[in-house]
Amino acid sequence: MKKLLFFFLVTIVGLTLLGRVFYLQIIKGDTYKLKSELNAVKSIYDIPERGFIYDRDGDLMVANQVAYDIMMTPKDVKKFDTLQLCDLLQMDKTRLMSKMDDAKKWSWQKGSVIVPQLTQEEYAPLQEKLRKFPGFYAQKRSLRKYMVDHSASVLGYIREVSPEKIRKDPRYQSGDLSGKAGIELQYEQELRGKKGVKHFIRDHYGRAVESYENGRYDTIPNSGLDLTVTLDNDLQAYAELLMKNKRGGIVAIEPQSGEILTLVTAPYYDPALLMGRDRSKNSVLIFNDTIKKPGVNRALQAEYAPGSPFKVINALVGLQEGVITTTEKLRCNHGYDYGGRKPLGCHSHKSPLALNTGIAESCNSYFAQVYRRIIEKGDTPEDGMDNWNRHVTSFGLGDYLGYDLPVGRAGLIPDGKYYSSRYKYKWYAPTTISNAIGQGEVITTPIQLANMTAAIANRGYFYRPHIIKAIDGDPIDNPDYTVKNYTTVDARHFEPVVEGMTAVYKTGTAKYAQIPGIEICGKTGTVENFVKIDGKRTQLTDHSVFIAFAPKDNPKIAIAVFVENGYWGSRYAAKIASLLIEKHIKGEITRKDLEEYLLTHSLEYEYEKQYSGEPFEINPRVDQGLIKPESNTLNP
């Protein structure tokens, strides 16, 4: 027995150790192999250059520039003059210290970012002096360079990827930049390119010692694809200029292709604000402003009642359903009494009137009767409503439209069920009469209105609006954007309505915005709107709306302009639309008077009213927004 104990112990221990190496090397071998590779293989990524963005004429809008991250490696830092460094980096001492602590916690050997993304101009004064601070250095990286100072909202911006995105998509690493909004986000895949990678064997200090497997797994970077977008750089700049000191959205579409020529939201900002060292400060100013909301793209996301331009749709549906003819005259008695508490008001014009004059004069009574007939044609109001809804939505209203930008709203086109669930008791066409004139339950976004206008310009079809024109020089052939979407209204019914829209310019509500030499078809709108002030529903000055396309035959541009609280349609929106049409078609501006009005009038006084805390007047007879004219750099 005494001879055996030692034998026994050696056997037990020996087998235990054998079992352990078996477990580590045979059973878990692959796991540890992977771990040792993670340990030993250092992958250095080669970030490709992000694709450029060009406008439809080949003007460069977004390029790249070299930028610098100020880095620090804790192990190399020696004693330094904190105050001097704070002064140099323009950051306060506590912030610098907390950044340095974070860096030390993360790694003693590797560098951490202390100040990210300095532009070349911001970095230049640092360059020399930084050498006095061992452990601090600058690391080059590529950032966006904006060649334009407009279109920030539609171009979007890039940011360091979020940890969630890194988890979801293994192609991203911490510190990578990716599109966060607009075109940059929508076409991230194309713009991003493919990273190159070099693998090195490293030692335990993290130093690269030699190439891993002789570079068998290394790849070279593929730079991002250049995009050509449908925007017109000049038009875009001019539209933003005209929208200065106003709020609202503009969308212009080329009807023959569905290409978005202009997409402007106001207030706007310089895209370069979201770059460089002040970008976080600026992004707070932009995205946290809940009053002006410059971070919201009103052209895509603002849902307004469409107002009178919607009458055109009711006219088309009325003709299609055969409830009116082009010649039938309807009476207007300064309004239409549909049996409600008070009649639907109308301004003074000659009466009775037919379709053409109805559109030109934007007669509320006329369209109330047309709408009523459409709804009452159904066996029940619900049926009539559903049928009306079918026609209206065929114009792309009440839907996201499916364009290639990452934000949007559906708006609302009500159907029978909508009212049945809303009203306890039976309802009839007059209950919903406001829809006749584009108030009531109907809401739309500017891009929907522009698309609707394009469908009218095309006499019955539209291409889905889109912003992409070519990728890497190859024109797109995406069937989403190259297939016609037909409306439910026959082509023959469009001509009389188009005539009516021509009359708007010739004799009607927008006759002061005529452009010599161009036959424009349009429709004004003056949209009542309300806000809650201290819980009380309060009416504000009407929104100024205008839709138009031109030329009448073979249209080149369809446009929707929405100016918040601009009062009637031709006070602001029609002027802007006319100027943009002229610029697009003629390439120059002859109606300098219109331009001057827009450049010398600000609506800020309107926007301040609701916050003044005092009772205020709305819909001022005279525009009180006169400001000092500013030099127009685009059309001097």
Binding site: K2, K3, L5, F6, F7, L9, V10, T11, V13, G14, T16, L17, L18, R20, V21, F22, L24, Q25, I26, K28, G29, D30, T31, Y32, K33, K35, S36, E37, N39, A40, V41, I201, R202, D203, H204, V209
Partner: protein
């Protein structure tokens, strides 16, 4: 057979010795990470120096084998005393390396006397126990032999080198073979078990387990005593033992938190999985386990291990050399080394058992025990089974003192064994 017959040295043990030396040197060679290669005799590199140490070891072997076999028994006590003095001298003349004052410095060479003290102590223990009228049942003799073993250990601990001191526990096997009760070992094992158990499970669970276990043992022993005529087990005694165990368990946290140093606490925490800190105190073990595990079945090949070549495992030429073997030689290599060490222990026991003289047998068992402890603790540590204890892997770890110490330890026994037929007490 009479005196003067030609000695027969054990071939197996010499082959095992040479095999371990060879594998060890190849691994040191591989782990060196040289930037410029100047041949294997490059004295700026560890592998070059190790060749020199191995050469000197062979010289030492020839001396030992050529000496009069009686020398070791006769001068055992003196060798032991010299060895103790050399350990004490460290406190005055010692040179500090890696925070421990365990070395004598002779110009460019350093010597670590604790590596030689093992052999000296083994000789002293063997000599003392083989004396006339010495019995382990005699308390005075037991205390004396305990003192012989404990003295060098006590001198080594404050250097500080507690790992090397631990090795002196190996003498238990020799004492056990000579009649020491197994209870002593059991007591130590139970104490360690309770200590670790408390750290992992907490005092209440341990107390619960103790009482259940005691209850079971008590009932069993009541049943069995009729057959074997054992004394009647007394419930009070069991209760007292349980109580002591629980008290000990309660004091564990105190011992752990107050008597142990931070680094010891950390090492224990890492192995028990109470703390995970792969960048800090757990770095060494974590990297060495990765190195071994990534070796797979056949290993990455000599000079191909990414962990070894990248120097991820600190001390990979010395205490952690097994990690490099595991990575570059794979399961086949690691198993070979483990089997070689098992064979070394088996062979030493067989040889010890065939000794006619008590002196040689005790010495043989001491040698076997020392190698066993080194083998178990070192590889167990590299594989993450035991806390980090800085002791070398015999014949493989880089270092002259270690190599010579182990060589002397082993070859004195080879010499004794070779003369076992002619050797008279």
């Amino acid at each position: 057979m009479g005196i003067g017959d030609k000695p027969k040295f054990d071939v197996y043990i010499i082959l095992i010795y040479l095999a371990l030396l060879l594998i060890g040197w190849l691994t040191i060679y591989s782990a060196a990470q040289v930037s410029q290669y100047h041949g294997i005799l490059d004295m700026d590199q560890l592998y070059g120096k190790q060749i020199l140490w191995i050469g000197l070891a062979f010289l030492i072997i020839s001396f030992i084998l050529a000496m009069d076999v009686k020398f070791f028994e006769r001068f055992g006590s003196i060798i032991y005393i010299i060895s103790l003095l050399s350990l004490l001298g460290l406190f005055v003349f010692g040179k500090e390396l890696n925070g421990a004052k365990s070395w004598y410095s002779l110009s460019s060479m350093t010597l670590q006397p604790s590596e030689f003290a093992k052999a000296a102590t083994a000789l002293a223990v063997a000599k003392f126990l083989s004396g006339i009228n010495i019995s382990l049942n005699n308390t005075k003799d037991l205390l004396l032999v305990g003192l012989i073993i404990a003295l060098p250990a006590l001198f080594i601990i404050p250097q500080p080198d507690p790992g090397s001191a631990l090795v002196y526990g190996a003498f238990f096997f020799a004492l056990y073979r000579e009649g020491l009760s197994l209870w002593y070992l059991s007591l130590v094992l139970v104490a360690i078990g309770l200590f670790l158990g408390t750290l992992v499970l907490g005092t209440w669970w341990i107390a619960f387990i103790i009482f259940i276990a005691m209850g079971i043992i008590y009932t069993l022993s009541r049943k069995r005593r009729h057959k074997k005529r054992l004394p009647k087990p007394r419930a009070v005694l069991f209760l007292i033992i349980s109580g002591i165990c629980v008290l000990y368990s309660l004091s564990t946290n105190y011992i752990f938190n107050n008597l142990l140093e931070d680094r010891h606490r950390n090492r224990i925490d890492i192995v028990l999985g109470r703390v995970e800190d792969n960048q800090g105190v757990g770095y060494n073990i974590n990297q060495s386990v990765i190195a071994v595990g990534s070796g797979g079945l056949t290993g990455k090949g000599l000079l191909e291990g990414t962990q070894t070549q990248g120097g991820f495992v600190p001390e990979q030429e010395t205490d952690f050399i097994f990690s490099a073997i595991g990575e570059e030689w794979g399961f086949l290599g690691s198993a070979l080394v483990i089997i070689l060490f098992m064979s070394l222990c088996y062979r030493l026991t067989i040889m010890a058992e065939r000794q006619k003289s008590q002196f040689a047998r005790i010495y043989g068992y001491s040698v076997a025990g020392i190698f066993f402890i080194h083998f178990f603790v070192n590889i167990g540590m590299v594989l993450g089974l035991l806390p980090t204890v800085g002791i070398p892997l015999p014949f493989m770890s880089y270092g002259g003192s270690g190599l010579w110490g182990f060589t002397i330890l082993l070859f004195i026994f080879v010499k004794l064994d070779g003369h076992r037929m002619s050797y008279e007490h």
